[in-house]
């Protein structure tokens, strides 16, 4: 009996270790050829993993592109912090983590002279504050979009002119505001005439959001929730993302998207080169391709987000540009989201929690 149990235990140990072995084996099998590999961390289906682009780029530069996907900005930050030097080459942070990544030295300086397309970017993207530190460039804007107002064109005939329409009692019971502390505070700041990135009177914002609460059909959190509400005719107007509104329109929904005159919320995704990369030249070439007129034009006019390249933006069919809110007029109305410290995030989130919790 005793022998048997020892045997079982041994067997169990062997089994466990053989499984552990399986985990460690994969990965580092060196390919015979010495072809540079460019590892890109990006969202899935977000331009850099387009097969046509990959094929063209790999042929031009005799290299290989590997796409790693991030699940959130925070996930990207963790990847940057924990990767070994040279493991990652290019990544796509937005304002929520960019400043942190630069301050922690996770990104290397971008050499503008190696980017021949940088000058074609809209001026505001070239001079965007958070990509520069001490006069050095650390990230390159890639695409932008907005969180503004979407409405049902069957019900609302006149495009809403102000962010105030989301706070307008005439749409009571037909509004879907977004359940997001940042968007809520920024939108209420626009309506109360404050700087959406640095509001000073948070009490006024809270009061405005509390006043708005009963006007909603509901708050939405995921894009899927919004499109179900819209398709089920539960709402007529709401806060929405430019990208999803364009997709819903393509699906035949009676939806229109507008950046109102008093402004809305904008976001930018930026390319950065990871510190410790061994392929800095290739990384610059990759970014240059990503911001080129052709790439930006093709992607933007086939359902992608708005281009930062001015020549690409001007080449897009004006009607399409306006309907997708990627026209210059919309761009100039936006308040682009800026980096927020933890204290600010906590304060805004607590404000929003209080609004949600108050009956």
């Amino acid at each position: 009996m005793k022998k048997k149990s020892i045997l079982t235990m041994l067997l169990a140990i062997v089994l466990v270790f053989s499984l552990v072995g399986c985990g460690g084996n994969g990965g580092d099998t060196p390919s015979g050829e010495e072809k540079a590999t460019l590892t890109v961390v990006n969202w899935k289906d977000y331009g850099s993993d387009d097969p046509d682009f990959i094929a063209a780029f790999e042929e031009e530069y005799n290299c290989k592109i590997v796409n790693l996907y991030m699940s959130s900005e925070e996930d990207l930050l963790t990847k940057l912090r924990t990767s070994s030097p040279g493991e990652l080459d290019v990544c796509l942070p937005n304002c929520t983590i960019l400043t942190t990544a630069i301050n922690e030295g996770l990104l290397m300086e971008v050499d503008v002279s190696k980017l021949k397309n940088f000058d074609s970017l809209f001026e505001r993207f070239q001079t965007q504050e958070d990509i520069w530190k001490d006069g050095k460039l650390y990230a390159v804007p890639f695409v932008w979009g907005s969180t503004a107002i979407a409405y049902n064109t069957d019900i609302i005939k006149e495009p809403p002119a102000s962010m105030n329409s989301l706070f307008d009692p005439q749409y009571k019971g037909q509004i879907a505001f977004r359940d997001d502390y940042n968007d809520a505070v920024m939108a209420a700041a626009i309506v109360t005439g404050q700087d959406p990135n640095n509001p000073t009177d948070l009490n006024k914002i809270k009061a405005k959001l509390l006043e708005q609460k009963s006007l909603n059909r509901t708050y939405w959190k995921t894009g899927d929730e919004f499109s179900k509400l819209f398709a089920g005719n539960q709402i007529a107007i709401g806060m929405m993302w430019s990208g999803q509104a364009a997709t819903m329109k393509q699906e035949g929904q009676p939806i229109a998207f507008v950046v109102p005159e008093d402004g809305a919320i904008g976001w930018v995704d930026n390319w950065g080169i990871v510190s410790g990369t061994e392929n800095a030249d290739l990384a610059h070439a990759f970014i240059d391709w990503m911001i080129s007129k052709d790439f930006q034009y093709n992607w933007a006019s086939t359902g992608g987000p708005a281009p930062v390249n001015q020549e690409a933006a001007e080449a897009i069919d004006p009607e399409y540009a306006i309907s997708a809110a990627m026209d210059e007029e919309s761009l100039n109305r936006l308040y682009f989201m800026e980096y927020r410290s933890d204290e600010v995030k906590r304060a805004w989130n607590e404000l929003w929690t209080e609004v949600k919790a108050t009956n």
Binding site: S214, Q234, D342, A357
Partner: protein, 271 residues
């Protein structure tokens, strides 16, 4: 032989230790961490008790859970009783029907309720067609909708635990009771109900406790008033990476769970 059998608990204990106890202590550690990085602090707990809206939210979450538990009990007891004592053949079919919702993804279930309850949805259309109401009940995006969704999600636990308890009740006891002159009601009150008490108590526990922590049903079915304490924890972790405060709320919730378990144990002890 005895020691050998105890050895068999090792894998289970190991799993519990690594994936339940250790993470719990990690969370406890976080809940005392200062946001400014200056060592340990009680601030995370203090904030919760200083802001009145956290407390009122906690109270409304507890109330929700109590409603759900009571309604589940009222629905589940007769069903479990009939299954255990009155039915023979179709008992298993009913059991399967009760278990089937577990096979369905939680989000699918919630969205089904969304479509079912929305204005002019299936429920309204049905009630209109049989002329019970006119127009709409406007159930969706109210507390009632949340409670309906949660009862649907959790009442099977109640049915199963009560059913198992009732099945163990010896029919001979019931027969003896009636042959000694007790009415049906008296038999139920003095024999069946006390004997099924363990099932009721564990059912209450299995419904009430997970209800306290839900946030998906309240958010999707409850509309602007669908915020519960679970939402606050979710927002802390996923929106602002506020692990410290999130962990402290989670521990306050855990304390509430432990208290309610003790109360139930106290009620359930043999007299």
């Amino acid at each position: 032989m005895k020691s050998k059998k105890q050895w068999l608990t090792a894998p289970g204990l190991l799993v519990l230790l690594v994936f339940a106890v250790a993470p719990l202590f990690i969370m406890l550690y976080y809940s005392f961490l200062s946001d400014s990085g200056a060592g340990f602090t009680l601030d995370n707990y203090k904030v919760f008790f200083q802001k009145s809206f956290y407390l009122s939210l906690t109270w409304s979450t507890i109330k929700n859970s109590i409603y759900v538990t009571l309604i589940s009990l009222i629905i589940a007891y007769p069903l479990a009783y009939i299954m255990a004592k009155k039915l023979k053949g179709i008992k298993n079919i009913i059991l399967i029907l009760i278990i089937i919702p577990f096979f369905t993804n939680q989000l699918v279930r919630v969205y089904s309720w969304l479509i079912f309850l929305q204005d002019g949805g299936i429920f309204d259309a049905f009630l209109n067609s049989v002329s019970i109401i006119e127009g709409s009940l406007s159930l969706l995006y109210t507390r009632k909708a949340v409670i309906i969704g949660l009862v649907h999600a959790f009442f099977p636990y109640m049915v199963i635990t009560i059913y198992l308890a009732l099945e163990k009740v010896d029919n001979a006891l019931l027969e003896a009771s009636s042959s000694l002159g007790a009415t049906k009601l008296e038999t139920f009150r003095r024999i069946t109900l006390p004997l099924s008490r363990p099932g009721i108590l564990s059912g209450i526990l299995l419904v009430f406790v997970p209800c306290l922590g839900t946030f998906v049903e309240p958010r999707i079915l409850g509309g602007v008033n669908g915020t519960v304490i679970g939402t606050v924890i979710e927002d802390q972790f996923f929106e602002i990476y506020g692990w410290n405060f999130g962990a402290s709320i989670a521990f306050i919730l855990l304390a509430m769970v432990l208290i309610s378990m003790n109360v139930l144990n106290y009620l359930g002890r043999e007299k």
